[in-house]
Point group: C2
Chain length 248, copies 2
Amino acid sequence: MAALDQVCGRARQLGMACAVIHSSNHLGMLAWYVESIARAGQIGIATTISEALVHPWGGRLAMQGTNPLAIGIPATPDPLVLDMSTGLISMGKVHDYALRGRPLEPGWALDASGEPTTSADAAKAGSIAPFGGAKGYALGLALEVLVGSLTPSALGTAVRGTLDSAHPCNKGDVFIVLQPAAPDRVSPVSDYLGQVRQTPTSPSDAPVSVPGDGARRRREQALRQGIDVADPVWAQLRATAQTSQPDR
Amino acid sequence: MAALDQVCGRARQLGMACAVIHSSNHLGMLAWYVESIARAGQIGIATTISEALVHPWGGRLAMQGTNPLAIGIPATPDPLVLDMSTGLISMGKVHDYALRGRPLEPGWALDASGEPTTSADAAKAGSIAPFGGAKGYALGLALEVLVGSLTPSALGTAVRGTLDSAHPCNKGDVFIVLQPAAPDRVSPVSDYLGQVRQTPTSPSDAPVSVPGDGARRRREQALRQGIDVADPVWAQLRATAQTSQPDR
């Protein structure tokens, strides 16, 4: 949070600012940061990297992280909040499917030897496909190299510590904050987002969402109805709760 | 070029700088700009928008441009140069297929009434799919809103003038230039890109490329062997050449 406060303050003074961070731990989700920046009237662009989990387009081994890109932009009634992994799915989803005994869909993952697999257990030792084919691969790689050019981050298969608590985390994060030159752009941008939500759809389809809408709906639903946790995870949580002593 | 020179100079002095442009004409391709920035030792991030040509994920009408994102990052022997449209294909490709009488692939486009089509002629009056499904749609929309928040750009269906010479162009462009804090990052980044190019592939597959490799290969080939132009375009070019007077 200290870096975020500083970079937002400097962008207010100077028009733009960038925070580069390294050797920090897992930062949770980028949406939280860029949404808070956008709700304060600034534009936030953020990216980070992870252990190599995604295979290059045409390659058989994981060489880059699930490298998410997040963009938060002021709008009414709610900001646009993009937060997308450049992997087709998350490794968390692979683990969730493995715990629930569900098969992956074809094309989602390769096994440890680089062969396509629908076994979530085999994919845990293998690699995830990039989203969007060659373009998503290229975007994810560009984000890895952007982080690696601005911070002394480890890269590719040398990245450690976002998925376990055994290795010190050696990856980098990049936050760019821009001060919109003209606050009067919030109104035309919000009108445009409203038009996009009203795009005609097939009668059987849901209305069009803009980035952030779905996460807001799921958050509101979770606050009302709770969160669905896989049974083995719930059992682990209960076991941990019974054996652990609170820190304070 | 004036804006590019200024923004690169300021980034050298200040660490980063941003140029926002509006009501300029079609800027050609973003790769040219970010590659020149990267070859000068800086990091370039650029985006622009176009007439509404791409339909939202789940929507039936074009509401956003083919909004490309480009990132250029110094590396040896050549910089990483990403330049990707957020449309699954370009409208130029649709016109090229129409001229050659070739059908589009399923999933590429909708016709004017929002129904899927493989007719390139029908797609010219319709819309192109976003690349990468919901994520590519969300990225393209975020780029449209980013441009619209930093410049007095028209948005969505109000954008005019990048595809014709009849309307004044009313869209915006955004260029961000970052000065790498540590030039010694070029070496580890270049090593990493070399590792990615060496990723094992299936025996029948081409080696893995990193962003920029393919365009460099195609440029070298075109310089040796020429450029393949559709026959109707070539006929138009010859007819124009015979009827036009040179400006000077």
